[in-house]
Symmetry: C2
Subunit: 434 residues, 2 copies
């Protein structure tokens, strides 16, 4: 087994080379120790999306903790000539000792929301750019797609089964944020191990094809997994498959799954057939290229659960979140790139979400960190402390806490904000004191 040596035990090289060449230059010219604030934000949401969802923050904290240069990392940098000896020595002692605040996972966000604030010396903060963005950009893209699907499913069961359509490690991270966003379970066993997420799965078409008859396959599965299992009925002929499934498992069969064809029509026919056989409690699960629109379109159909794959793990058209990690403050002085095309605001920022007395969100208000804005009775600060002097603060919210947070946040959006169609962000972002 050599995978442990090929996967990165340290996160330190999950980094763009220019971070280390900047570090080397800054160490040499004395600017490396300047106190800096970097901020993660996004200039826009993916085309037509109404909100973003923060995903991956716990993984970010873990990646920062594991951002250490051991022998393998230093040797690579030396042999590739990326940086010289004095920088290598500095890196050998590196660990992040600064402060981090951010929007917790499951929080919704909008263009300009100050999602993460990383403060420390230039040297210690600049090197984290790539791995922080990799995790947040990926996981948040998947979380946002998953949240739209969960909205569309409206309480019906959602099973994440997209592992095969994305990088094997993205698959694990995707399963995690799908659960964050309200999915019921995942097919991915490693996500079960690593994050304690419920896993699910029974059989594929291969299992039916392996056997001499569909009956033999169904009998074997029911003998192994019990009548409460889900039988896949569309290998040959769905009507025959359903009849056979009930014949084998009885009317106590847990569910049937349909993975092909016009699943709306087929679900209606299946429900009628199951009811006519007396299998009133047998559920119908559909899968096969479902996205949030297909899920919504099936609302009127007798579907009890959805298996979602490709659309989830590819962010349903928006596979990344376009977050950036920008230097906004140097020794207390706001800095920003000058540009006609990209709006950049210097200075560290804090954010307040303002709400009507009814609890409906009305705006994302972003202030200079020193501003001390007043909170109305229904308003709240959006950032929470995450790291202090490089250590996690106590009692960070759990995955379950953040799952509830997203549910609550979505309820607070104006109703237009939950529409699946293209449109403006659900609430505007305002910068009252800039």
């Amino acid at each position: 087994m050599t995978a442990a040596s090929t996967l990165a035990a340290s996160t330190a090289l999950l980094t763009d080379q220019y971070e280390l060449t900047m570090l080397a230059s800054a160490l040499r010219d004395g600017s490396a120790d300047r106190q800096c604030a970097f901020e993660v934000f996004t200039r826009r949401l993916p085309d037509g999306r109404r909100y973003g969802v923060v995903g991956g923050l716990d993984r970010v904290l873990e990646a920062i903790e594991n951002f250490r240069f051991g022998e393998a990392e230093l040797e690579q940098l030396a042999s590739a000539g990326v940086v010289g000896d004095s920088t290598l020595e500095w890196l050998a002692d590196y660990r992040f000792r600064g402060d981090v605040d951010g929007y917790p996972e499951g929080e919704v966000y909008f263009p300009g929301s100050p999602l993460l604030s990383v403060r420390g010396t230039f040297a210690e903060a600049v090197v984290l750019e790539t791995v922080v963005l990799s995790i947040l950009n990926h996981d948040s893209a998947i979380a946002a797609a998953a949240a739209r699907m969960a909205s569309a499913a409206n309480g019906r069961r959602l099973i994440e089964m997209g592992s095969r359509r994305t990088h094997e490690e993205s698959a694990v991270a995707s399963a995690r944020v799908a659960y964050l966003a309200g999915f019921t379970a995942t097919s991915n066993l490693e996500a079960g191990r690593r994050y304690g997420i419920p896993t699910a799965g029974t059989a594929a078409h291969a299992f039916t094809l392996l056997h001499d008859t569909e009956r033999a396959a169904f009998e074997s599965q029911v003998a192994m997994l019990g009548a409460g299992t889900t039988l896949l009925v569309d290998t040959y002929d769905i009507t025959n498959g359903i009849a056979l499934a009930i014949d084998v498992a009885g009317i106590g069969l847990g569910a049937i799954r349909i993975d092909s064809g016009d699943v709306g029509v087929l679900a209606r026919q299946a429900r009628e057939q199951l009811d006519s056989l007396g299998a009133f409690e047998t559920k119908i699960v559909v899968s096969g290229d479902l996205d949030e629109h297909a899920i919504a379109a099936l609302r009127a159909e007798p579907v009890d659960g959805y298996g979602v794959g490709t659309a989830l793990v590819t962010g349903s058209g928006a596979p990344t979140s376009e977050m950036v990690y920008k230097l906004v403050e140097v020794d207390g002085r706001p800095v920003a790139k000058r540009s006609t095309h990209k709006t950049s605001r210097g200075g560290r920022k804090i954010a307040v979400r303002r709400h009507k007395p009814t609890g409906t969100a009305v705006e994302e208000a972003v202030y200079p960190a020193a501003a001390g804005p007043e909170l109305g009775a229904h308003d709240r600060f959006l950032q929470i402390p995450l790291l202090r002097s490089g250590k996690r603060v106590d009692d960070l919210p759990s995955l379950e806490d953040n799952r509830q947070r997203l549910k609550d946040a979505l309820v607070s959006l104006p109703w237009e904000g939950l529409k699946l169609s293209h449109g403006e962000p659900a609430i505007p972002t305002v910068f009252p004191e800039q």
Copy 2:
């Protein structure tokens, strides 16, 4: 450092649960030992694409070798109740002992190309489905996008810098297949360590903003990295930035980079300015939301290199490859799901690419494995042996070999096949004996 414990040292749980429940049922009913052939193929290319590119095969072989159930994996399966004791015992001894053939990395493919053939008992082959597909679907999607970009760049330098826009491990895999497809270098340091790919990078806007003046930043960078470095000139004003860059580094400056604005117009102005300053050899590198179409549109401009990020790592609109892993043969008998919507052909297959005497490919001919088709002087078999009795065959092609393979394969396509616009596959796939 805890990353080693959270990343999967074994690949065995990068697996959908249903593979193990199928295994458990098959072990119980006696069908687990049936000799099976599974095949990886795709029913279609992403919308309008002319060809696919096989990427990730070396990673697949490594994943199969590391597909072993250790204590952590077995404990998870037991505690989650996925399978029972007799299956756990079987898994504890598992390693893949079958045969694998496939299209090598860098080979182009078309709908229906039999990309991978996995043969062994049902039990040993079925469990590999998810991890095999995860790797091939991801890496091939990125490889195909990269190949289109390399075609468009037409020999100009291409630097992969998309790590921040995708999962941190997808980033490493993406850098690898970008290199396979003709990219010159990557910003990703871990890809340099793991795969020996050339890395590149000098400085971001943060480095200029950190310093009191742009001059101080440029002087520091040149002092550290030499005049051959690349200076980023668009933090404040590009014309001033270029003048300053040459003033600081001299006319021997390696390159300038422009990361914003209308890079075509700006490149032309920059070339004129550099030439007027006598910096005739200073190269111009552009970056910022480039895809293959933008790269092609810049062909007429004086651009020497491209930095490509988001579009590469998201597959430029096609982030996955839609490959499937299907059971096609059981104990020598062809099997296939019956379906009106999906074409499935049973039986193990072999593939021949047929060419004109000029070397131009004309068709992908797919035969039953037993057929023994005749090869014309310019034709070739597309699959190569990869594993025999679970062991790698000797002298598998290297990443450099496969890089050349893709170059050669693209040259062999009919010229329409290299067009970036939407269209039909470059050559048809035919099934002469079915």
